[in-house]
């Protein structure tokens, strides 16, 4: 037997036998209010509940039963009994609490959590939305209004795809869990906003009823990355031009000086010729320096032969100067975009420079691996390592070097991780997308 099947809507105060029972109970309590009578009151309430009566029935019953007792002609002294009558009513009603309180608490907490959710939804900085299975927007928060320029009412009459450029909206909108995509949204005023968007199915009772999603404005982030990439390109151009000037123009001048020195040498007596020889040695050093400087500014081998040969050349130089054995492994799978080659070369240069200066390593390895549409790699050493967070939190040349490496990779839409701890060597790992 369940509570639901119990006959309902009986009128308790109209049922003489129930009224009589309550009246008797009340009188018993008024005469002797102890746990025994209170226990009977509890049992009475429980029986009423079992029989399908409600709280209002009990209150009406109480009113009917107490009425005659309030009569001044009544035999019971009522001065002390208002409290007792109330206590009886409380006792009779308590079993009803057992069925109601839970619902009341559950309802309150449900309401609270709904309110909290609504608040979070509304005040989120990111655009939050849901759609039905057909892709029509079914909810849209304030950030969505701000980013798109569409009011909620307008948005709720649209498909999610309507918000995006044609190229973006031709892609499937439901992405697998946790997968992120960058899509370009066209605002109401035609303004374009780059969103990083992730969605997942919206479930109700285990069935898919639509989609929920979150989108973040990454226009600024993207613009900053583009600006940085342009800046890097610009600096590389400058470096290339200076390298040219050093190598070609200064080199030409130097060549002329060599010729002149040779001519003059021939006309001089032995002593003067020896002095001229010393001058030639100095000139050799200048020539050497100029070449190295030009090369460091812009290694022609990078433009001519590509990243791996350039890194090999770099590695030989480092090995010679610092006695760290440097190996270059792997392949880039053919030439890749010039800005990627430049960035990764600069990173290898910076990292190997650090190895030579600080690491006290025996060996270092530069490695490249082509993985689908991305180029991954690392520069590792077996040196003394360092505290990465410590260096990054200090503003100093070393920290700037690490940040510079990261910025170069981020500007290309990739990732760079520096791992090191004292005594454990250092690794710089990067992952750069190749298509653009």
């Amino acid at each position: 037997m369940s509570v639901q099947t119990i006959q309902h809507k009986k009128s308790a105060h109209a049922d003489p036998s129930i009224l009589a029972r309550y009246d008797e109970l009340l009188r018993a309590c008024l005469q002797k209010s102890d746990e025994d009578t209170l226990s009977r009151a509890h049992q009475f309430g429980r029986d009423m509940l079992d029989q399908g009566y409600g709280v209002l029935d009990i209150v009406a019953l109480h009113h009917r039963a107490v009425g005659p007792l309030v009569d001044p002609e009544a035999s019971v002294d009522l001065a002390m009994d208002q409290d007792t009558a109330a206590r009886v009513l409380l006792e009779v009603l308590t079993p009803f609490e057992m069925t109601h309180r839970g619902f009341r608490v559950a309802n309150t907490s449900l309401q609270e959590s709904e309110e909290r959710f609504r608040e979070l939804f509304e005040n989120a900085n990111d655009m939050l939305f849901t759609t039905d299975l057909a892709g029509r927007l079914t909810s849209f928060n304030r950030a969505g209004e701000r980013l798109s320029g569409f009011s909620r009412a307008e948005a709720l009459a649209m498909d999610l795809k309507d918000l995006f450029t044609e190229a973006a909206s031709s892609a499937p909108m439901v992405f697998s869990d946790l997968q992120q995509r960058e899509l370009e949204m066209i605002g109401r005023d035609g303004r374009r906003v780059v969103l990083e968007i992730s969605t997942r199915p919206l479930l109700a009772d285990g069935r898919e009823v639509g989609m929920q999603g979150i989108a973040r404005d990454i226009t600024d982030r993207r613009n900053a990355a583009t600006a940085l990439r342009h800046l890097n390109g610009h600096l590389e151009d400058k470096a290339k031009r200076i390298a040219h000037a050093l190598h070609d123009e200064a080199g030409q001048l130097l060549a002329t000086v060599y010729l002149r020195v040779a001519e003059i040498s021939g006309e001089l007596p032995a002593l003067g010729r020896r002095r001229m020889e010393e001058l030639r040695t100095l000139l050799d050093q200048v020539d050497d320096q100029l070449r190295r400087l030009a090369y460091e500014l812009r290694p022609t081998i990078l433009d001519d032969l590509g990243l791996v040969p350039a890194c090999q050349f770099l590695a030989e130089g480092v090995s010679r100067r610092s006695r760290v054995r440097v190996l270059v492994k792997g392949t880039t799978g053919g030439r890749v975009a010039p800005d990627v080659e430049t960035a990764l070369y600069r990173i290898a240069q910076e990292a190997l420079g650090n190895v030579g200066k600080h690491a006290r390593a025996r060996t270092a390895t530069v490695e490249f691996e082509r993985k689908g549409k991305s180029l991954r790699g690392s520069i590792r050493d077996d040196g003394i390592g360092f505290d990465v967070d410590g260096v990054l939190s200090r503003v100093g040349p070393q920290g700037l070097g690490l940040m510079g490496m990261r910025e170069r990779v981020v500007a290309l839409g990739g990732n760079l991780t520096v791992r090191s701890s004292p005594g454990k060597g250092t690794s710089v790992e990067f992952d750069v997308p190749l298509e653009s």
Partner: protein, 140 residues
């Protein structure tokens, strides 16, 4: 592991073998609640919890005991009620905790009802091992 009442915490222990024990347990519960500073309505709630737990013992376990204690946790103070019986135990607790379930033909208001009235509720039972219910009601 259910939160058992340690022996030093037991303030009152009432053996239950019939209606009289039940009324005594209610009286002790109400008294302890009053001493702990519960309002009248919550004293009635504590008496109701004791009633339902006691009734459960009498219905299913035939005999058992109810232990009552004052508990303190940080700033909070409350009453803890533990009911133990040596009855057949409940084979399916999840089912027993659903509204409307009873194996002896009465609406199973008891345990689900107690859970609603209480702030904390723990039950352990297994066939042949009796049933232990520990309930805490904090003073608001």
């Amino acid at each position: 592991m259910p939160a058992q009442l340690g022996p030093d915490l037991v303030e009152v222990l009432v053996r239950l073998a019939g209606e009289e024990g039940l009324v005594e347990a209610r009286r002790q519960g109400r008294l302890l609640a009053a001493r702990t500073g519960f309002r009248e309505t919550d004293r009635a709630v504590i008496a109701a919890i004791v009633s339902e737990l006691g009734r459960n013992i009498l219905l299913y376990g035939a005999s058992g005991e109810i232990a009552l204690a004052v508990v303190e946790l940080g700033q909070r103070i409350g009453v803890r009620i533990a009911a133990r019986d040596e009855g057949p135990g409940i084979p399916d607790i999840m089912r027993a905790m659903r509204d409307g379930y009873s194996s002896v033909g009465r609406p199973g208001l008891g345990l689900p009802g107690v859970r609603r009235l209480a702030d904390e509720f723990e039950i352990t039972s297994a066939p042949g091992r009796g049933t232990h219910v520990v309930v805490t009601k904090w003073r608001s």
